[in-house]
């Protein structure tokens, strides 16, 4: 869907009966839902009727993002990559998080393999209220032997419900891996100019997506055109422009060219999500820690340029945590500023004498304040400012004395601490008088910037007895 499509363009293609069957009262409302990707065309029962077939296909095509979405895997753990509309996240948002995949290979010791697969599958961490985890496992055929590969794929499959990528340039090897993965919709890596015909057949027979791998864009166009002419569907292709860990300039150039081809030119043979392989860093790095460090760093440059999926070799959490966090950050929707729940949070190990700090619930503000309170035992209460900063919230009546007075009551500040003092951000000083009058609590006006909290507390805390 090009950036400039509006609800009117979509509305024109809907039945216009305002029947409400889709769950939205009017067709115009449904059009907006479709544009915002909160609904699907088939939610409208009328569109599914035979006489509307052409309109339905046209509308689906109109709503398809420039980078076609591709689903990898089946079932609950399936994930979608691509589906992007913009080069830069500030233009709208980046939609589908870059997928983070870890490899295993068919020459690994079996116990080691199972342990690694379980670790990848079980890893999760909560950050800013979201679960960070990996997305899938890439099984490489190091042996290039079909039966060895088959056995390995089977073992991996038995130990994970994550989607898989089958990696070999030998169609026969891929085929034997597919034989034990009925209905799992793995991603096939990779079709090249030499083997695309056989790999395409495998993709078609097994209804699974495939990667086209080449460092030559013309070659990619040729393979994807031929594969689609043969019958591979447009939701079955992923492009790998090759990750050269040394010459990242060329790697980046290919990445940018391909994204522009899809997003700005909507050039059909290249409207597909892109796969990056930072694992290539291990080809020439001897030292394990150095390789993991460089691999991770390379992926950082790819994530910044909007890659859609990544395959890593490292299983060191210190090297995988940064990409997990970076993608969480960059895939936050800039149109809806991230916010935290307005509740009394504990930092460190606070007790009845600890200070209570007030701030806004704009995630950036909150986490900055929390970071500046590192090492101090205290409570922080983020007022629901609808995700705006303190200054804007005070100016826009989103941070008010009423909200704070209510919070003192509702969050039972009295039950938490023995003192009766809250600390307001310097930029909310104007609210202090009213809060004192309405709540009976003392208000300290703290620093304007939370980096001054430590100093402020060491000068002013605990409060002196009157």
């Amino acid at each position: 869907m090009p950036m400039d499509i509006g609800p009117m363009d979509v509305y024109r293609m809907l039945p216009g009966d305002n029947c409400g069957e889709c769950g939205v009262k009017t067709c115009m409302g449904f059009a907006t839902e479709l544009i915002e990707r909160r609904a699907e065309v088939d939610d409208c029962p009328l569109m599914k009727e035979p006489e509307n077939e052409k309109q339905r296909t046209d509308l689906i095509e109109l709503l398809t993002p420039p980078v076609r979405p591709v689903k990898i895997g089946a079932g609950e753990k399936a994930f979608t990559i691509g589906g992007e509309e913009v080069m830069y996240r500030h233009e709208k948002t980046w939609f589908n998080q870059v997928a983070i995949l870890i490899d295993v290979d068919d020459e690994m010791d079996k116990d080691e393999l199972v342990e690694r697969v379980e670790w990848i599958t079980d890893y999760s961490r909560i950050k800013i209220g979201e679960t960070l985890s990996f997305d899938g496992i890439a099984v490489r055929s190091k042996s290039q032997d079909p039966s060895t590969f088959k056995e390995t794929v089977k073992l991996v499959d038995e130990n994970t419900d994550y989607p898989l990528v089958l990696c070999s340039y030998v169609p026969e090897v891929l085929k034997s891996g597919l034989e034990v993965l009925d209905g799992r919709r793995p991603l096939l890596y990779a079709a090249t100019l030499d083997n695309w015909e056989e790999v395409s057949e495998l993709a078609m027979e097994n209804n699974c997506p495939m990667v086209i791998s080449s460092d030559d864009i013309d070659e990619m166009v040729e393979v994807s055109t031929r594969a689609m002419a043969k019958g591979v569907e447009d939701d079955q292709i992923v492009l790998d422009p090759l990750t050269d860990p040394n010459d990242l300039r060329e790697t980046t150039n290919r990445l940018v060219k391909l994204r522009r081809a899809a997003i700005e030119d909507e050039f059909e043979p290249l409207r597909f999500p892109l796969l990056g392989i930072p694992a290539t860093a291990w080809i020439s790095e001897g030292n394990k820690n150095d390789a993991a460090f460089i691999e991770s760093t390379i992926s950082c440059s790819l994530i910044g340029n909007g890659i859609d999926a990544l395959i890593y070799h490292s299983d060191e959490i210190w090297s995988l945590m940064p990409p997990l966090v970076l993608r969480q950050d960059l895939y936050q929707d800039p149109r809806n500023p991230a916010s935290v729940d307005p509740k009394l949070n504990e930092v460190g190990d606070p007790d009845e004498n600890s200070p209570i700090l007030i701030t806004s619930n704009f995630a950036l503000t909150y986490y900055t304040v929390e970071g500046d309170c590192e090492g101090i035992d205290c409570y922080i209460y983020p007022v629901d400012t609808e995700g705006t900063s303190v200054t804007s919230a005070v100016a826009g009546d989103l941070m008010t004395s009423d909200k704070i007075v209510d919070a003192i009551e509702e969050e039972d500040f009295e039950g938490k601490v023995n003192h009766r003092t809250i600390i307001l951000p310097g930029n909310a000083a104007v609210l202090s008088g009213q809060i004192e009058v309405d709540s009976g609590w003392n208000v300290f006006v703290g620093p304007k910037d939370s980096s001054g909290i430590k100093d402020f507390l060491s000068d002013n805390w605990p409060p002196k007895e009157d």
């Binding site: 190091k142 055109t225 031929r226 060219k257 392989i277 959490i317 966090v325 960059l330 950036l364």
Partner: protein, 405 residues
């Protein structure tokens, strides 16, 4: 194309068809494998595509896929980012051995559109007091902490720093409260000991910083340092005056807000600060702590600058050291296990990698200069700039990752 009797060709082909194993179509040639046409009496022939489609309609149809050509977009931007030179050599009225030029970009970083004249640079942070640093960093500087000139020298000699940032944090009125005059002496000492360009920072105290930077600027007269920082909420005019009077540059620092950045830049320009003396710091939020805001503000600033916004077309500096505020960076391995039941791995790698991610993400968004701290982080950042700017030879056949990793 030789002409043969139609019937004769037909007959030959009919016979030949029976022995065909496979057919390859290449250009306008047909290769019939397994067919020995020569045996039919010295027959050599070429067949046009048209003829082929008449004889084998079903085959040619499938093979005739039109491959559309793709011409990648190459974008020329309207504007070039202002160049700002940090440091002055003896011929330029200073004593630096070399200078560093920031800015000058015509394109987004490492884009296919073209080469930018200067790569992003990394400047090493040093402090004039016993800065409380995470132990994973301080252990590299144990021998020099609290002795700024030795620290600066170590950064240059041991870690190859091309630029050094001297933070005069001891001037903080809430700390040691070193006087501007004493701070200026430190600046002189550092300039004496190292010959790379210098960035001079205050303590972040809005009342005192202008006085400190003014004294520092005077002590460093002619050296074209970068004074950090002028902000909207302090007496930036004093800093601007000092830069103009003693030949320095000004770092214009705002807090992740493109409009405030425009305003500060505009004020500096209107006040008379030359365009080639302004560097911007739109604030660096670390990885996991709002980096997306910095990323997008940087990208918007750089794109606006390249499109011709003359209030935003200045080089960008980022304080990457902020990454160390994240507990994921500094916390020892045992704490997350105890506290959150998680293994985060050794901080010897985790910490610097956190700093690298923060820095590299800024570079990808358009940064020209990173202020960084951990020696390993700085080393890797420099290395990545090399790889990203194509200074490293390509790796032959990266496809082999499938079998040889």
């Amino acid at each position: 194309m030789k002409l043969y009797d139609k019937d004769k060709i037909k007959k030959v082909l009919q016979e030949a068809l029976e022995s065909i194993q496979s057919i390859d179509l290449e250009e306008d040639e047909i290769v019939l494998e397994g067919v020995d046409l020569e045996a039919k009496g010295d027959l050599e022939f070429e067949i046009s595509q048209k003829a082929v489609s008449q004889v084998f309609p079903q085959i040619t149809e499938a093979e005739e896929v039109e491959i559309e050509e793709y011409e990648p977009v190459i974008k020329e931007m309207d504007n070039q980012i202002q160049e700002v030179k940090i440091g002055a050599t003896s011929s330029e009225g200073g004593t630096r051995k070399e200078t560093v030029t920031l800015g000058g970009e015509k394109y987004l970083p490492f884009y296919p559109d073209g080469d930018n004249p200067h790569n992003p640079v990394v400047t090493f942070d040093t402090f004039d007091r016993e800065e409380p640093l995470p132990s994973v960093i301080s252990k590299h500087y144990e021998d020099v902490i609290g002795r700024p000139s030795e620290w600066a020298k170590k950064s240059v000699d041991e870690y190859g720093a091309k630029m050094v940032t001297l933070h005069l944090t001891s001037t903080d009125p809430k700390g040691e409260d070193t006087s501007p005059k004493e701070a200026a002496k430190t600046v002189e000492e550092v300039l004496e000991v190292v010959d790379v360009p210098l960035v001079i920072g205050g303590s972040g105290n809005p009342d005192k910083d202008p006085k400190v930077l003014e004294a520092a600027a005077e002590a460093a007269e002619g050296e074209r340092c970068l004074l950090a920082s002028a902000t909207l909420d302090l007496d930036w005019k004093t800093i601007a005056d000092a830069a103009l009077e003693y030949n320095h540059n000004v770092l214009a620092w705002t807090t992740i807000d493109i409009n405030l950045q425009k305003e500060l830049n505009r004020r500096l320009m209107n006040y008379g600060v030359d365009r080639d003396r302004i560097v911007m710091d739109p604030t660096t939020a670390g990885l996991g702590y709002g980096i997306e805001y910095s990323f997008s503000v940087l990208q918007r600033i750089r794109i606006s600058g390249l499109k011709g916004d003359e209030e935003l077309d200045f080089p960008i500096s980022n304080g990457v050291t902020n990454a160390w505020g994240a507990r994921e960076a500094w916390m020892g391995a045992e704490i997350p296990k105890e506290k959150y039941g998680e293994d985060w791995g050794p901080r010897e790698f985790r910490g610097p990698l956190w700093e690298v991610f923060t820095g590299l993400t800024m570079i990808m968004a358009g940064s020209d200069m990173l202020m960084a701290l951990h020696p390993r982080a700085v080393m890797v950042l420099k290395e990545m700039v090399k790889r990203l700017s194509g200074e490293m030879d390509e790796l032959p056949y990266p496809q082999k990752w499938v079998t040889s990793v």
